[in-house]
């Protein structure tokens, strides 16, 4: 039996992608900047009250997307994998919204 790394099927991409240094460093810079923004918001934006949490979550979500897209090479993958990740986000939002609706209607 040949090694499974030689298998090919519809979903498999054996092409290796080498991202440029520029892309790597730009991604890193973006993540550091977003981390900096998170800290700034939490320290100096305390009067935003509940919006502070929403802002932190929003920034974290953007960071997740950047990491998945560039560092984890989602940009080179078939669209189906992006859809699968979107599905995960939809589920998370659904759990939160349904629980919040229940709480607010109690």
């Amino acid at each position: 039996m040949e090694n499974h790394k030689n298998h090919h099927n519809d979903d498999q991409h054996e092409t290796h992608h080498i991202a440029s240094y520029k892309e790597h460093f730009s991604t890193l810079a973006a993540l550091l900047l977003l981390t900096f923004v998170t800290v700034v918001v939490s320290v100096f934006g305390a009067n935003l009250a509940t919006l502070s949490v929403a802002t932190a979550l929003l920034i974290a979500t953007i960071k997740v997307i950047v990491v998945a897209y560039y560092f984890m090479h989602l940009k080179y993958e078939k669209k189906i994998y992006s859809w699968l990740i979107l599905l995960v986000v939809v589920l998370f939002v659904a759990f939160t919204v349904i629980t919040a609706i229940e709480y607010l209607n109690r």
Binding site: M1, N3, H4, H7, D11, L91, F95, E102, N105, R106
Partner: protein
């Protein structure tokens, strides 16, 4: 490929304990899971028998009330987290998924071994509560807050064990998803995959996405117990209903982690033993995904009496009925598969037929509990216990043993005594229904669950139930004894394909060689159940 060394089977490849417990071969890991699971299953069965003995008569028969509470909790934790959640995926998924896909292992073999080790560590943690701390938890396997925050029993270790076990489940799910996406043999498109693989795919997504929620929830209990953070206990500002939400957001989909692989097994057994194409392949495949998806949105039906909002209760009740649709699609297709088939009555088929019968009782009683009005009456009665065991044991448990009888000759290259297997099945089936059907009656009469004692009017159903547990135990011991005897003395030379199946595992040797195939498997052109153009398998 066709060399003599290529045909060394996975048992012969290496010897010794370390060659097993550090093996990265998916087949060995599957068997490691089988042996560990069966050990814990027997512990869980023993605890169950003790509970039933205690309930033989009203009043004290065997143990004190507090001990009884701890026994039913440990029974639940062991059976849910150590047996039924990992059961079919960890044993038969690990062993057969790569073979059914025509590849030589899962995508991440080392991660696969790690998941077994994590499972063992979690199991030791769960069982350690028997000897360390103030005894095993007495909360029930659901660990409902605020009681789980306040009780002095060893809840922290129990929930940490469940937390650790969750990682094992996540890693297995991740491994299967990547394997199915990346390692299918050339020519095997998604719609040419066996339905067992489809069911594992749907299950794996639940394992991957839902398990972290229970993980964080259980850690929140530990945080509350250890640090006094007010999360669930209202006396320190927490919300107990929030706990139930978080718990059931995982634990309802977890019901499908337990049930979907069983559906996959049944979808394999029926075509083989009726020698005809499965009816409605696509409908069965996609209904697995539909069940996985819809299953995420109906957790609230466990909470109808919790005090949550009336609006949410109505919405969850309506949504619950939606999950009956894809489930019924499967059952109708299974029955249609049998219609006009060349039915060959063998032990695995008997388990599959018992599955359909019992799972239907479990399913229909589930509809009664899913309906808001009737659930208010039946919540926390023995009706729920009966329903749950009909689904989990009568369904998944029977599918597990059906799978064990089905793939037994492939795994060990020997055959058990079919006559004894049939007798054992009959006793097991009678015992099961004697044990659990009276629970439905007792529940309808109003007997509450999780009570050590009961009123005299509930004596008859409890007595029948306890006698049934003894019959079931006899059937189980006979079945396991027969399988173990087959391992040592069973007929050798069962060939590649003793049942006449056409999924890829039947094209390879029994037991399979280390690399799974001694020659390239032939992918049937018209899908995995094309019995009209059955590939000719030479020995």
């Amino acid at each position: 490929m066709a060399t003599a060394t290529a045909n060394i089977n996975f048992f012969q490849a290496r010897k010794g304990l370390f060659s097993w417990i550090f093996s990265v071969d998916h087949k060995r890991i599957g068997l490691l899971y089988l042996y560990s699971l069966m050990t814990f299953f027997l512990v869980g069965v023993t605890l169950g028998l003790l509970m039933r003995y205690e309930l033989l008569n009203p009043g004290k028969d065997l143990v004190e009330a507090q001990t009884y509470n701890q026994i039913f909790t440990l029974h639940g934790v062991i059976m849910i987290f150590l047996f039924i959640i990992p059961s079919i995926p960890a044993v038969f998924g690990n062993f057969f998924l790569p073979i059914m896909l025509g590849t030589d292992d899962v995508s991440f073999p080392r991660l696969n071994l790690l998941s077994w080790w994590i499972y063992i560590i979690g199991a030791i943690m769960a069982l350690s509560t028997l000897v360390f701390g103030d005894g095993p938890a007495d909360t029930g396997w659901t660990f409902y807050a605020p009681y789980s925050v306040n009780t002095t029993t060893n809840v922290s270790m129990s929930v940490l064990a469940a937390f650790v076990l969750g990682f094992s489940s996540i890693l297995t799910g991740l491994n299967f998803i990547v394997t199915i996406h990346r390692l299918r043999t050339p020519g095997m498109t998604f719609l040419k995959m066996p339905l067992f693989a489809w069911s594992l795919y749907a299950t794996s997504w639940i394992q991957l996405l839902a398990t972290p929620i229970i993980g964080i929830t259980l850690l929140m209990i530990v945080a509350e117990r250890a640090l006094g953070v007010g999360l669930f206990d209202p006396s320190i500002g927490g919300d107990p209903i929030l706990y139930q939400h978080l718990f059931w957001i995982y634990s309802h989909p977890a019901v499908y982690i337990m049930a979907l692989p069983a559906f996959g097994v049944i979808s394999e057994l029926l075509p083989t033993f009726s020698q005809r194409t499965i009816f409605g392949y696509k409908a069965i495949a996609f209904s697995s995904l539909a069940i996985a998806f819809v299953g995420y949105f109906i957790w609230g039906h466990h909470m109808f009496t919790s005090g949550m909002s009336g609006t949410a209760r109505i919405i969850f009740s309506i949504l619950t009925f939606f999950v009956a649709i894809p489930t019924a699609i499967k059952v109708f297709n299974w029955v249609a598969t049998l219609y006009k088939g060349s039915i060959n009555v063998q032990p695995p088929l008997l388990y599959a037929l018992a599955f359909i019968f019992q799972f239907m009782i479990g399913g229909f009683t589930g509809l009664i509990l899913g309906a808001l009005a009737t659930d208010i009456h039946l919540h926390d009665t023995y009706f729920v216990v009966g329903h749950f065991h009909y689904v989990m044991f009568g369904g998944t448990g029977f599918a597990f043993f059906g799978a064990l009888h089905y793939w037994y000759p492939k795994i060990w290259g020997r055959m058990y005594n079919v006559k004894v297997a049939n007798i054992a099945f009959t006793i097991f089936f009678i015992g099961f229904n004697m044990l659990y059907f009276p629970m439905l009656i007792a529940g309808l009469m109003g007997m509450p669950r999780r009570y050590y004692d009961y009123l005299p009017e509930f004596h008859l159903p409890n007595m029948i139930s306890t006698y049934g547990s003894w019959v079931l135990a006899v059937g189980l011991l006979l079945m396991l004894g027969n399988l173990i005897a087959g391992f040592y003395k069973g007929k050798r030379g069962v060939g590649r394909n003793p049942w006449g199946g056409i999924t890829l595992e039947w094209q390879t040797l029994s037991p399979p060689p280390v690399q799974n195939f001694d020659r390239m498997p032939e992918i049937p052109k018209n899908g995995p159940y094309d019995y009209e153009n059955k590939p000719i398998i030479k020995e």
